[in-house]
Amino acid sequence: MIDGYNFAYLDEQTKRMIRRAILKAVAIPGYQVPFGSREMPLPYGWGTGGIQVTASIIGSDDVLKVIDQGADDTTNAVSIRRFFARTANVATTTRTAEATIIQTRHRIPETQLNAGQIIVFQVPIPEPLRWLEPRESETRQMHAYADYAVMHVKLYEDIARYGHIATSYDYPVIVNGRYLMRPSPIPKFDNPKMDMNPALMLFGAGREKRIYAVPPYTSVKSLDFEDHPFAIEKWDTSCALCGATDSFLDEVIIDDHGGKMFVCSDSDHCATRCDQDEHNTQETAP
């Protein structure tokens, strides 16, 4: 641990303030709780909200996994994992199943989460109505009245203009039948994973100073229309490394003649499947 700094960087009073905000967020699923976000030694927009939430809930016996774009080895995931390894000296893992806390940017792991696990999302803009109404004083009232008509109109306009809803990530959801919530910029592919998830989902927005939550086993419904039901994206191909057909695939450009391949965005999911394949091949080998 670093000399001169408290366990997990934040002082205990700050952690207590953040835990109170988290408790309130859990009690009112999907409601954005303002909190006294601190200036962290990492830049705003790079996960300071998620880091503060993780720092407030982490204990010395926790096992931490950090992913960005689904991968453990992207630079910012490495940087945040190191931050906690340095300031809290906790065990880290890349295995989704082994982690007690998963901090994530832009993805929910493909592996089903279990009861007792906590997933912490890094949130750039917490307000789902922000692109439709820039004023916080207005959007807070719209939430108070559950007045979400503008969002339905926006989705309807998409259908009128493009033939279907043109939002592909950060797709708005209604939590527990009450609050409109931004799931953070995860692809809509991940939205169905939030519904009735056994894990606790916490969302931290440092720059915007908001925390919100989806408690375990809470209904999370993606907005849609009866004649335009919500649907997730599909690929015509499978992962070039592990052959998965049911995971979110990233497109990788491999030459300058339009050549490309598709691979799992979830690096743990992909590696686990590759390992199993190898294992199976060895077992069946004579």
Binding site: D11, M40, D68, T75, N76, G163, P187
Partner: protein, 369 residues
Amino acid sequence: MAYVAVKGGEKAIDAAHRLLAKERRGDTSVPEITLEQISQQLALSVDRVMTEGSIYDRDLAALAIKQARGDLVEAIFLLRAYRATLPRLAESEPIETTHMRARRRISAIFKDVPGGQMLGGTFDYTHRLLDFSLAASGAAAPDAAPDTGVSGDETLPRILGIMGNEGLIQPERLDTDAAPPDLTREPLEFPASRATRLQNLARGDEGFLLALGYSTQRGYGRNHPFAGEIRIGEVEVVIEPSELGFPISIGDITVTECETVNQFTGSKSEPAQFTRGYGLTFGEAERKAMAMALVDRALRAPDLGEDVSAPAQDEEFVLYHSDNVEASGFVQHLKLPHYVDFQSELNIVRKIRADMQTDQTAEREEVLA
């Protein structure tokens, strides 16, 4: 495989840190810059970093500037992150700038004022000609400077106070009961109090405030300002710990204060009065203090019954976008990988294009049939 190369990893980060350290030091045949040199000779950089970093400590600000390779916004960020780890021990009494030992004090609205006009060391009337004699290192010390004209122990009356005696300027309401807000501990809420707004502006980016203040002068929320008084000098910081029960001085700080006299208001029932804007910074930062006063006045539009039509008058717009640590982080986070969101967007654009092509083909077939 290309795929692996795209993902950064630990080695790349370590290497980047080592490169950065090397670049910071530059050519090792050139002597390393000292914090004293930065504090003494780049004093105005230090002042800006202290002001926007919200901590009055010249040594730490100089260290931050050195570590940030002279990037002041990065230095402000370093200082802010350090500040966040410090305990908050006490609230000071309001500083009393009327008792400032001023080394500069000017008013643009009266030719002479009680206590006198005092130019001090200023760029204002220099001709901006590059002085090549400064390029030679080890140059002789500058000509003996005149004694710094520091105002005496007697208080320096405030110009706007003198106007106030005649009822010509709106009095400030003193809100002594309310504990001062602390933006570093509590999130912004709207409508914000004036104290909160001023705190936000004091921490705000100088360039942002300068542009906003300038916009009010060009007609976007015009409020007709005069530089009522600008003063720079030292003031005492006093705290009164509850366990002591009497005030103690904990030191002196340098501040720049600007009070503008603005457009008058009045009605049939209320006699005409000028209004004011207020700016205060650590150290010497006159441009920032003046810009702050213009924006402060613009933000008072709703309180003074004026229309809110320009960006500088829009509280949420100004207060949410003034902080350069927040802005710099969020703008630069675009450098982080976004392949997943981008993949989703690619999928949807391809789908929309394919749908349109199918529709067009169908239409063409209909026409032909």
